[in-house]
Symmetry: D2
Subunit: 139 residues, 4 copies
């Protein structure tokens, strides 16, 4: 039922988005579900040791994208059309962020996923996001 | 850990919001979780037998509100400050809608919950929503 | 450039959505813009004289819908796929609500509009909303 | 009426957020309004010459943040609690992005702003966003 497994997704990221591929590691993928890790790095830090909002947005966005590609195969041109995100708590300083993503809808032209982000080792989520992707038509 | 149980929530709704109390039935309540039923009625129908968007919004909104009150007690003045909702599928005609709500954050001034809505008897959700409530300060 | 003028929109609402047509009056329509009035009624009131959240959601939703139909003609089957709304201030009790809506995107399959809601006679908006509609394909 | 002008905002950014300060230039600031430029750089590019979603999110986020600080003074600890963003069109390749931001609410604990993003020289917006900031209490 999966068109791309963990290795295929990671390799796709490396080829299609070389600038950011090293920021994200696919931890697990299953039909309509994925978990992605964003290692803690200097680049995503903010004063007080917190993770920047745009970095959390990026992790949520890539998680839904990869959950979608796992189901439909490598379509680099799927694009985000809408995102909403709630920042709930300050992430733990110097700790990786982990996403847990569900695809709630996988239609012909639109897919919707939601995501919880957690600092590794914590139960309480640091952010919640939902994103809509537009799926390009087959030629 | 709950300040209000199912009966207390239902009674609160009846007293504080008499215009809408009959539209919603608390099915289950637990710490940080609630399930609410919205019976199918003429009032919420649209052409083609679907449920109106505002009615689904109302079910999501009241679910987070009651999940919050269950934790903090009867504060009619908690108000929604933000909501985002994704409409995923057409609800089944003539069937009750059921919400499943989690409180993701319960802070001093803000609470955030997310909600899945389903037509009774269906697995696939018809809508996903997240709402932020502002909690009034104690006098 | 408009496929439907004020009268055509109001008449469409009356025929396609008879349950709610009397709740909304098109005030002005222009390419990519519309203004809609929601009269203050018992039905939309809440304790303290405020307007209910679902009623404000409904006004924002119908505003984008009618702004879209004005451009593409009467397609009852355009459906809301996403909405986000910020409730900014308490509406003035017993006063009509007015929407001001812009269509920001009118694509082949998706349209996006944003809306400010105000209590009549007030400058400061009571709510801000943005909504995405999915446009049904031509047969 | 402004507590910080263009130079003060730019200097604040340089000191509080040295990693990103060079990514953003305040173009104009007025009460409840700001315009910010994000120069086109390698870092924000994606295949096909488009600007990354997280980079557009970052521009919207910083715009509301600076519009808020202009009104309340330098409070690094104001934090984003919610954001919603609609991606409307592909940005023009190799062209700066410009934001136009309005503060719609400036309360005691919450502020809400909305933002349109455009590729320089284009009328049609590439994205629309709205963000809520939580304002830290005075000690």
């Amino acid at each position: 039922m999966l068109k791309m497994d963990r290795d295929a997704l990671q390799e796709f990221l490396r080829q299609a988005f070389p600038q950011v591929a090293q920021d994200f590691t696919v931890e697990e993928v299953a039909p309509h579900r994925i978990a992605v890790r964003m290692p803690s790095t200097e680049k995503t830090l903010r004063p007080g040791g917190t993770v920047s909002g745009p970095a959390m947005f990026a992790l949520a966005d890539v998680s839904v994208y990869l959950a979608l590609l796992a189901m439909i195969g490598p379509k680099a041109l799927a694009v985000t059309t809408n995102a909403s995100i709630d920042f709930l708590r300050k992430p733990v300083a110097g700790v990786d962020l982990l996403s847990e993503c569900r695809l709630l809808k996988l239609g012909r032209v639109l897919a919707v996923g939601d995501v919880l982000l957690r600092s590794e080792g914590q139960d309480a989520p640091v952010a919640r996001a939902s994103l809509t992707y537009s799926i390009p038509p087959e030629r």
